[in-house]
Amino acid sequence: MSHFFAMGGYAAYVWPAYAVFFIVLLADFVSPLLRRRRNLRELRARLARQTARQHRSATPAVNS
């Protein structure tokens, strides 16, 4: 097993190359998921504000 990880003496080049490959692609894959979650959260907050405002403006109209 250690023979495998030594990569014939080229471990210092082979493994960083693979690490870059996976880290960059992982970052590429995760960033839109985070963006989507953030956007949905903002949208929900906006919707909640909107309904609250409608509620407030609706109540006096009923009273008068």
Binding site: G8, V14, A17, D28, P32, R36, L40, R44, L47
Partner: protein, 256 residues
């Protein structure tokens, strides 16, 4: 026969339908990409024998070459989607073109980094002004230009159209750059190192390479779907279908 195809395509072009379509297909593409990638890695790192000239350092090829292919392939997809976006003004095509750019840039960046990690033990230098390396660097700049222009506009769709135009100019430019850089290399008698060389690549090395190529293609589709979904939610944030998704997905603990 010819009647249902456009209708089917039209339906797929509408954001809510594509959102659902991409959402169901994305896990499959991602799963297949992971499986193919794992098989390719096993074949490339464990099964394939060491190269008689380069030892084990050549194993970088299994990510370097597929990434280089993807860098060019994604640019082609981006240019085609840009053309569609400019001619027919389809919102989905704009999203596909603009969300392809970061993925392509990521693959091009990987190509450059793995190439220099490979070049250090083989050529004794991190960077050489070789024709292919230089073209790859120019390709990265093309991607960065498209991404930069897209984000420079306040209006997203206007930015997408301007960046799409730049992408089309860029794809005309790619062969010109390649030709001129080749000419420049012969003029200056630059290093004539070749990685693959004229020798044929053996089958035990070829199949992991091709499998990895398939895996990166599948990954691209999965990543693109995820990005386009996020993009569509942003572009259509005022529409009813997005509101419905927002309220459906509300997590109980998040209401604070």
């Amino acid at each position: 026969m010819s009647k249902w195809i456009p209708l089917w395509l039209h339906k797929l072009g509408s954001p809510p339908i594509f959102y659902r379509f991409a959402g169901t297909l994305r896990p499959w593409f991602l799963g297949l990409a992971l499986v193919a990638g794992a098989v390719a890695l096993y074949g490339g790192l464990a099964l394939a024998p060491a190269d008689y000239q380069q030892g084990d350092a050549y194993r970088i090829i299994f990510i370097h070459v597929p990434s280089a292919w993807m860098g060019l392939f994604i640019y082609g997809v981006m240019a085609v989607a840009s053309f569609v976006a400019l001619v027919w003004r389809i919102k989905l095509a704009e999203a596909v073109a603009m969300e392809s750019a970061p993925i392509g840039a990521a693959f091009t960046f990987i190509t450059l980094v793995t190439g220099s990690l490979w070049g250090k033990p083989m050529w004794g230098t991190w960077w050489t002004w070789d024709a292919r390396l230089t073209s790859e660097l120019v390709l990265l700049f093309l991607y960065l230009g498209v991404i930069g222009l897209y984000h420079a506009f306040e209006d997203r769709r206007q930015g997408a159209r301007a960046a799409a135009f730049l992408a089309i100019i860029g794809i005309i430019n790619v062969p010109i750059v390649h030709f001129s850089v080749n000419w420049w290399n012969t003029l200056h008698q630059g290093s004539t190192v070749r990685i693959l060389g004229p020798s044929k690549i053996s089958a035990s090395m070829l199949w992991p390479l091709l499998t990895m190529m398939v895996a990166t293609k599948l990954y691209y589709v999965a990543s693109l779907f995820g990005r386009v979904r996020a993009d569509l939610l942003e572009l259509e944030s005022g529409k009813d279908w997005v509101r419905r998704i927002a309220t459906e997905n509300s997590v109980p603990g998040e209401q604070a």
